[in-house]
């Protein structure tokens, strides 16, 4: 029983990890763009970015995923003109990155606002370009404020990846579902999946604690 399904479970774990990492990277990039948009001086950009964030944050994660997967297909068909099959992995990653970006952009915005205004003024006074300002003044200060919340969001993201099993992507939760229904031992396999999720969250928590610890030392 174990040998027959352990490969499947491992494969599922790999998909879960892959989803988390890809969504984390894509989501972080998107979050930076969104945060920049929300801090922009142009009213219309602020309204669009804040509206997007508010919408994603107030809708259940599952619904975002369904909207991207089922809705995205409809939109694509209208755009291209013939039937297109949206890949599970692509739509799953897209939905998860959108969710992650919406939450993380709020954190980044808060982190930006927490930077003493004098630092930015000083950078201006030194004649830093926008890029230099970001790289040497804003970013080093921002990620310290954002890090604790980033760690929490990583955990939430990892746990949210389980919903992609509902659109048929073969992740850990789905592997457990299939193995459980095939062997009629659902409890065993869900418990196994639960243990694997626990180990993954534990790894993230430990890394997070290490980084936070390092940060505290370098701050002094």
């Amino acid at each position: 029983m174990w040998t027959a399904y352990s490969a499947q479970i491992l494969l599922g774990t790999w998909v879960t990890v892959k989803l988390t990492v890809v969504a984390l990277i894509a989501g972080s990039v998107l979050a930076m763009i969104l945060a920049a948009g929300k801090l922009s001086t142009r009213k219309i950009i602020v309204v669009i970015c804040s509206g997007f964030t508010a919408m994603i944050r107030s809708v259940p994660e599952l619904l975002v995923l369904f909207a991207v997967y089922f809705g995205g297909e409809v939109v694509l068909v209208k755009l291209v003109g013939h039937y297109v099959n949206l890949d599970y992995f692509v739509s799953g990653t897209l939905a998860l990155s959108l969710i992650f970006a919406a939450y993380f952009s709020e954190t980044l915005r808060g982190a930006y606002l927490a930077i003493p205004k004098g630092n930015i003024t000083a950078a201006h006074a030194f004649g830093f370009s926008a890029w230099q300002r970001f790289m040497h003044v804003l970013f080093p200060a921002m990620w310290r404020y954002a890090l604790p919340s980033f760690g929490n969001l990583c955990l939430v993201l990892l746990k949210d990846t389980s919903i992609v099993s509902l659109i048929g992507l073969h992740d850990l939760a789905r592997a457990a579902y299939i193995a459980g229904s095939a062997t009629e031992k659902p409890f065993t396999f869900y418990a196994l999946a639960g243990v694997i999720y626990l180990m993954l969250t534990h790894v993230i928590m430990m890394v997070n604690r290490q980084i936070n610890h390092k940060l505290r030392i370098s701050k002094c």
């Binding site: 259940p60 599952l62 297909e73 409809v74 659902p186 409890f187 999720y197 626990l198």
Partner: protein, 194 residues
């Protein structure tokens, strides 16, 4: 547009079910978290505290969906549940959904409560003891009112989280809002409007 109007009553029923699951899960979660916090704070029993910590670790470290599945699909495998009166409850998706979400929110709320109790200024509790309050009065007049004022912002977040995770129970065939919407989409192939 017409289709939406046509299916509106069904969707409203879904909303009703969503609200029912939400309220039951929150009530269960709140009661359990009170109990757990009390056990942890008063150190009723060392092994009980260990058990609660393990429970907190498990329920905060695994996805809600897996918890729902393990309770709904997994319970049948345990013969103690399968062949006793408990099965009457565990075979109903509503009960399983409420149990899973309730246990899930109880874990997060217990963490909030234990944090909040530590945030109550010690002086206030000591003042209560100095005034000769007994334990009941201490909880009733000082600890619980303070607890709620500290916890309220974080707890409202938790309520929103539970509301959003109720959408997951559509996966165990409970026809709440998301489940109803899925069925309607299956019938009409209209995705965006719904």
């Amino acid at each position: 547009m017409l289709t939406i109007l046509h299916f509106l009553p069904q969707m409203l029923q879904g909303v009703l079910l969503t609200m029912m699951v939400l309220i039951c899960a929150l009530a269960l979660g709140l009661m359990l978290s009170f109990l757990f916090t009390f056990c942890l704070e008063r150190q009723v029993n060392r092994y009980l505290s260990y058990l609660i910590h393990i429970y907190l670790f498990i329920f905060r470290g695994t996805p809600t969906l897996v918890q729902i599945f393990i309770i709904y699909y997994g319970a049948g495998q345990i013969s103690l549940i399968r062949y006793s009166f408990l099965w009457q409850a565990f075979k109903q998706p509503f009960f399983c959904a409420v149990l899973a979400l309730g246990l899930n929110t109880a874990a997060y709320t217990t963490a909030l409560f234990t944090g909040a109790i530590r945030a109550i200024p010690r002086g206030e509790i000591q003042a209560g003891i100095a005034l000769g309050f007994n334990n009941v009065a201490l909880y009733q007049k000082i600890i619980i009112p303070r607890l709620f004022s500290i916890i309220l912002p974080a707890y409202s977040n938790e309520v929103v989280m539970v509301l959003k995770s109720t959408s997951l129970v559509s996966a165990i065939t409970l026809p709440e809002l998301t489940g109803v919407t899925q069925t309607i989409i299956g019938q009409t192939y209209m995705t965006s409007g719904l």
